[in-house]
Symmetry: none
Subunit: 421 residues, 2 copies
C-alpha cells in the first residue's frame, strides 16, 4: 500500500521550523512496509490544501496530514479534508469534555474557538489527545484512508505511536526490517562500485548506500511476512558484504557509531589510548568521549596547537619541528610517540595539519593533514589532502583519525601489515 504525507503549516514554508514530523512519520511508515512516494508541505490555504488532498487521493491509498488542527481561524485541515471526503462536522462529546478538562488542568480560560476542536467529521474514528486540545481523525471510504494529526511533535509523536501505528499495522500483511552495515576508510563511489551488481540485481532484499562524513553506510532492507523471515533474507546479503568489504565494516548495528566500535575494541583488547591534536584542536578527543565509559581507556588528551606545546607536552624534538615543520609526517609521528609516552597509554592518535583558511603554501596547501597512530613502538602514518571549509577539513580529519585508530588496533594482530614511520 502507498502512503502520502501532507504537512500543513505556514511556519514550515517560512523556514521558521524544521519538519521533524515528516522524518518521524516517514520512518514509521517505512517500518510498516508502506511505500511513501510523496511528501508535501503547504500553508494554511484552503484552495491549495484541497487541491493537494484531491491529488493525493488519486495516487495514494493512505494520506496522512499533520498540522492545521488548531483552534484558530486559519486552521483549516479538518474542514478541508472533511469536504474532500464529503463529510459534515459534528461535535464529539468526549472531545468536548476532554478539551474542557485539559484547559481546566492548566487553568487556561476557554475561548469560543476552542470548541471548534471538538468538531469531527461524521462517521470518523477519533484519536483522542491527552497532550493537547486537538483530537486526531481517521476517515475511511472504500478507496482512501485519511489520517489527520496535530502539528506539535509532543502531541503528534505519542498519538502516532499509540494509536496510528497499531491501526496501520493491522492492515499490513508484511513487515520491513533492515540492517545498517557501516564502513569506514572507503569513499562512496568506490563502495558503490564494489556492489553495483547487488544494487542492480536485487529487489528484495535491497542494498542502498548512504554517504556520511568519512563513512559509507549500506542499508540492507527486506520485506517479509515475519521479522524472522526478513532477517533470514538479510543474512546472506550481509555475509556477501562482509566478504567484499571485510575489515572496512565496523558494525551492522544502526545505533553503533565508529567511536563506539573503537571503544569496544579498546575494551576487548584492554588497550588505553590518548590523543595529540593540533588542527582538530580537541574535536577528536571530544568525539571519542561521546562514548559513555570510555574514561577507563582514554584518561587524558592533549591539544597542542603551538610548537611550544608540542615540545612541552609531547616532547616533540625542536629540530624535527625546525627541519620538517609542524605539518609533516615526522612531526605527526613524534606527536604520537610523545603523547603515548606522556599519557603512559598503549596508543596515541596524533593529528597535525593546515585547516585554513590561511597558513597554506604551495608545498603545504590548506587541507594538508598528517595523522599518525602510535602503538607499542610502531606507527601507522597517513597523509590526507582535504578541500572545503576550515570546519569541514577538521571534521574529515577527525573521521579519518578515528578510522586510522581503528585500523591500527586491528593491525596489532597482523604485525606484517604495519608500516614503520
Amino acid at each position: 500500500m502507498t502512503v502520502e504525507l501532507i504537512c500543513v503549516g505556514t511556519e514550515l514554508l517560512l523556514g521558521n521550523i524544521v519538519n521533524t514530523n515528516a522524518a518521524f512519520i516517514a520512518e514509521k511508515c517505512a517500518m510498516l512496509g508502506l511505500s511513501m512516494y510523496y511528501q508535501s508541505v503547504v500553508g494554511d490555504n484552503q484552495k491549495r490544501l484541497e487541491e493537494l488532498i484531491r491529488t493525493a487521493k488519486k495516487r495514494s491509498d493512505i494520506i496522512i496530514l499533520s498540522g492545521g488542527l488548531g483552534p484558530t481561524q486559519d486552521d483549516l485541515t479538518k474542514e478541508t479534508a472533511a469536504k474532500v471526503m464529503g463529510r459534515t462536522l459534528v461535535e464529539d462529546e468526549r472531545a468536548h469534555r476532554e478539551i474542557k478538562e485539559f484547559m481546566a488542568k492548566r487553568s487556561h480560560a476557554i475561548t469560543e474557538n476552542n470548541w471548534k476542536q471538538a468538531l469531527v467529521p461524521e462517521g470518523c474514528k477519533v484519536l483522542y489527545n491527552p497532550n493537547g486540545t486537538a483530537p486526531g481523525i481517521i476517515m475511511e471510504d472504500g478507496q482512501t484512508r485519511i489520517i489527520l494529526l496535530p502539528g506539535p511533535p509532543n502531541e503528534l509523536v505519542p498519538m502516532f505511536e499509540e494509536q496510528v501505528y497499531p491501526y496501520l499495522k493491522e492492515s499490513q500483511p508484511e513487515v520491513i526490517c533492515s540492517k545498517m552495515v557501516k564502513l569506514c576508510g572507503i569513499g562512496e563511489s568506490s563502495a558503490e562500485t564494489k556492489i553495483l551488481d547487488l544494487i542492480e540485481k536485487q529487489t528484495n532484499p535491497t542494498v542502498a548506500p548512504y554517504a556520511k562524513t568519512g563513512e559509507v553506510h549500506l542499508r540492507i532492507t527486506a520485506k517479509a511476512a515475519t521479522e524472522e523471515e526478513a532477517y533470514q533474507m538479510i543474512a546472506p546479503v550481509e555475509d556477501e558484504l562482509q566478504e567484499r568489504f571485510g575489515d572496512l565494516i565496523y558494525t551492522d548495528d544502526p545505533r553503533v557509531s565508529l567511536e563506539m566500535a573503537i571503544y569496544d575494541l579498546l575494551k576487548a583488547k584492554g588497550l588505553t589510548v590518548t590523543t595529540a591534536e593540533s588542527c582538530t584542536g580537541g574535536l577528536l578527543a571530544g568525539q571519542l568521549i561521546n562514548v559513555p565509559g570510555i574514561s577507563e581507556y582514554l584518561k587524558e588528551g592533549y591539544v597542542t596547537y603551538s610548537n611550544e606545546a608540542k615540545e612541552k607536552l609531547l616532547g616533540v624534538p625542536a629540530d624535527i619541528l625546525r627541519q620538517y615543520g609542524a605539518v609533516s609526517s615526522q612531526t605527526a609521528e613524534a606527536m604520537a610517540a610523545g603523547g603515548a609516552n606522556a599519557a603512559n597509554a598503549d596508543l596515541c592518535i596524533a593529528v597535525t595539519g593546515i585547516a585554513g583558511p590561511d597558513g597554506g603554501s604551495k608545498e603545504k596547501p590548506v587541507g594538508l593533514v598528517y595523522m599518525s597512530c602510535y602503538c607499542k613502538g610502531r606507527w601507522y602514518t597517513q597523509e590526507h589532502r582535504y578541500t572545503g571549509s576550515r570546519s569541514k577539513i577538521r571534521e574529515y580529519s577527525v573521521a579519518s583519525a578515528l578510522t586510522l585508530l581503528r585500523k591500527t588496533i586491528l593491525a596489532m594482530d597482523k604485525p606484517a601489515d604495519f608500516n614503520n614511520g
Copy 2:
C-alpha cells in the same frame, strides 16, 4: 514572485534524515521576499520527479530542487530537469577539471560514474562546488527558472549563500535586509519577555527570536526599496535592543559566532587562554579552535578525563578530589587555576560534570556541571543543571563555558563584579 521547493531523495521518504535543507532554503527565500506555497519531497524516481517538476512549472516562477546530483545510478535530478526544460546534457570542462582535482586532493580513485557529474544542461549557468563533486545548475526559459542544488548541507548551504542568494536578489524589486543580534547568557523566554512589546507592535521592521543552544538570536528584518533604507529602519530597533540587553549582546553580525567574538576580545586585550576539560572532553577547545588565527591566544588545552590526569596535568590537589569529588566547584576552580599555571596563560576555562547516562547520584545527578574561569588570581564559577542526552548535556556545557569565558574577560574591566572562588 513565487518559488517552489522540491527535495529529491529516497532517504527523506524513508525518514533516514531530517530535511534541514527545506528549512534553510525556505528561510532564505522568505528573506528575499519570495512567496513559497509548496514544498515537496520525492524519491529518485524519474517518472514521479518529472511529473512534479511539470506541475511546479505551471504554478511557480522559480523551482529549486535539492538532491539527486550524485554520481550514482539513481541520481536523476539533473537529467529529469533538463528533459523538462528541453535541454541536452553537455560536458562542462571546468566541472570535469574540478572533479579531477577534488578527487586527487583527497587521493580518492575516480570511478567512471564520477564523470556523470561533469555533465550540465546546455546553455545553463553552472554553480561550481568547492565542497563536493556535484556542480549546481541554473536553467532559465522565458517563464521559469529552475535551480538545482546538491543535497549534502555542507555543499548546499555555501552554494546557496554565495551563488544562489545573490542571483535571486538581483530580480527582487524590494530588498529585505536583516541584522542578527546575538545574545548569550539569557534564556529564550526571558529574552522574549523583555521585547514582547517590540514583537507585538512592529510590522516593518520586525523582530523575531530564534533559540540556539545556549544562545538567543534576535533577527531584525526590514523591507525597503534599497538596502541603505532598510538598514536605516533597522538602526533604531538595534539601539533599543542594545539598551535592553547590553553586555548580553555579543554581536550583530550573522557571520560572527560566540567563539569569534571571544577571539576578538582576546586579541583586543592581548590575553591568552587555555582549556581544562573533563565532561566536555575537548569539545570546548575544539569550538574555540573553529576560529582561524586563535593559535596566538590558545596555544594548548587539556583533556583531563580521569582524576590522575587532573592531578598530573593540572596539579589539582588529591585532597580536593577526595574531599569534594571530581564534580564540584572546588575541583572546577582548581582545574582552572592549575590549567592557567600549566599553560602559563592569562585565563583558563575549566569544565567538570556528569554527562551521563551513568555516574549520577541523588546528590550529584546526571546533568550537574561545574565550570570555572580563572583569570589572574580570581575565579568566576558556575553550577549548571542540564537535562537531556549525554551529547546534549556536553553541547550545553560548551555553550555555557564560552559564555562564562566571555563574561570573565568583560568583567576584568570591572573588578567589583568579580566573585572569588
